[in-house]
């Protein structure tokens, strides 16, 4: 669950299967009672069933019964426990798992983020069409409906829709499930279209190579400083719908200056997904990213093969060859 917006993950649905297993969830009844459930079906993420001792769960400890079973009579059982863990540790662990899976297959993965209506889905459809022949898969995140995934599938690319229900961002756990459902090809491109929201997705690593933030010129040019976390988390800014500039008061220089103030390193590509202007630079960025990911996989594979050859040579009792 995320939010200032009061949203929850209770209703997460991933097309073609169930998403709600393997993690805890919590719901609140109309009367205010709150239940916590752990659903751990053992698919490798964690094990063990938690059972917090809580007065609200229907049983209490007798006054003389020390619930922590201290072995030192007379010594208070109150103690300090060092945690020193990032609050997003769980999500980050899933993201790490996704990143390893992607690296192992040489897949270049992008997390596309923006406010609603910036033209993400149109950009994706156009990109897939223009990259004809390149293997692309798409994970679509929306609160409701599978309309976006259907639009993607109409281009011929495989797509899986994640409906986050009340949730306002994708998290690494949902994306990991969707990735497995897509049967991704080696050395391919994976585009993850996040829920239209310039706030919450900033904090959630999905395992992608880059966050790509899309800002359209029909929005305010000050969005980068109104939503600085997102523009700081992204490494690429696509300024979309530039074909409409003649009809608008949008100040491109001001918008880019704001973006660079928040994130001096951000790479900017100006384009119009609808008219095709600037798409060449974007496609080149994708091809370069895919080439690097594929090269990294080969380097790893070659490196491992060399190591295996060395170890085999050692086992055979001959000196290893560098």
């Amino acid at each position: 669950m995320c939010t200032t917006c009061g949203c929850g993950t209770d209703e997460v649905k991933i097309e073609g299967g169930h998403a709600g297993h393997g993690h805890g969830h919590e719901h609140v009844h109309a009367d205010g009672t709150r239940h916590s459930h752990e659903h751990l079906h053992g698919h490798g993420h964690e094990n063990g069933h938690g059972h917090p001792h809580d007065p609200a769960d229907g049983h209490t400890h007798a006054a003389d019964e020390d619930p922590t079973h201290s072995h030192a009579p007379g010594v208070s059982s109150a103690r300090r426990v060092q945690i020193e863990q990032d609050i997003l540790a769980k999500n980050n662990a899933y993201a790490h798992e996704n990143r390893q899976l992607l690296a192992g297959q040489g897949i270049f993965a992008l997390n596309l983020v923006s406010g609603p209506g910036s033209g993400k889905t149109t950009l994706l459809c156009k990109t897939i069409t223009m990259l004809a022949g390149v293997p692309v898969a798409v994970i679509e995140g929306d609160q409701q409906t599978s309309q976006d995934a259907e639009r993607i599938r109409a281009t011929g690319a495989p797509a899986v829709q994640i409906n986050t229900g009340k949730g306002c961002h994708l998290d690494a756990h949902m994306v990991g499930h969707a990735m497995r459902r897509l049967a991704l090809k080696d050395d391919s491109l994976l585009m993850i279209e996040n829920v239209g929201n310039l706030v919450c997705p900033a904090a959630f690593d999905l395992g992608e190579a880059h966050k790509v933030v899309i800002l359209s010129v029909t929005e305010g040019e000050d969005k980068p400083i109104k939503y600085p976390d997102m523009f700081r988390a992204a490494s690429v800014l696509l300024l979309n719908k530039i074909d409409l500039l003649p009809h608008l008061d949008f100040d491109v220089d001001a918008a880019l200056a704001y973006a660079r103030r928040v994130n001096p390193q951000i790479r900017v590509i100006q384009l119009s997904a609808a008219r095709g202007e600037g798409m060449g630079e974007w496609l080149q960025f994708l091809r370069d990213g895919m080439a690097s990911a594929a090269a990294a996989r080969l380097a790893t594979v070659d490196g491992l093969k060399k190591r295996i050859a060395q170890l085999e040579a050692q086992l055979a009792g001959t000196p290893a060859q560098g």
Binding site: R34, T68, I87, A203
Partner: protein, 113 residues
């Protein structure tokens, strides 16, 4: 930013620790929150109370340790304090700053029984 899901993350870490280290109640939780993390301490405290209701951390005291924002100014070639992620360098007024500290969101310590 999204304090409710962060508060749930805190509770998850506490519940995991309770399982591993065998404690039943949490009386105090210390968080380290960086000034540039986008987390509102007041919203965090509110959400923490809501999320921990009915849990082993119900009624626990939440202590938020604020860590200062710092950045590396490219022009001055030194570490300077930052108040916002897009802040100006207090020395030269420039914007070429790389955040180096203050984005932390950590559960530091618990007092448990």
């Amino acid at each position: 930013m999204h304090e409710m899901s962060l508060a749930e993350g805190v509770l998850q870490l506490i519940e995991d620790a309770a399982r591993q280290q065998g404690f039943a109640r949490v009386s105090t939780v210390w968080l380290e929150i960086g000034q540039l993390s986008g987390v509102e301490p007041e919203a965090m405290a509110f959400c923490f109370d809501a999320v921990t209701r009915g849990s082993l951390a119900q009624g626990a005291r939440l202590e938020i340790i604020t860590l200062p924002g710092t950045g590396w100014c490219m022009a001055c070639a030194q570490t300077v304090p930052m108040k916002e992620v897009f802040g100006e360098c207090p020395v030269c007024g420039g914007h070429h700053l790389q955040v180096t500290g203050g984005t932390e969101m950590r559960v530091k310590e618990l007092e448990v029984t």
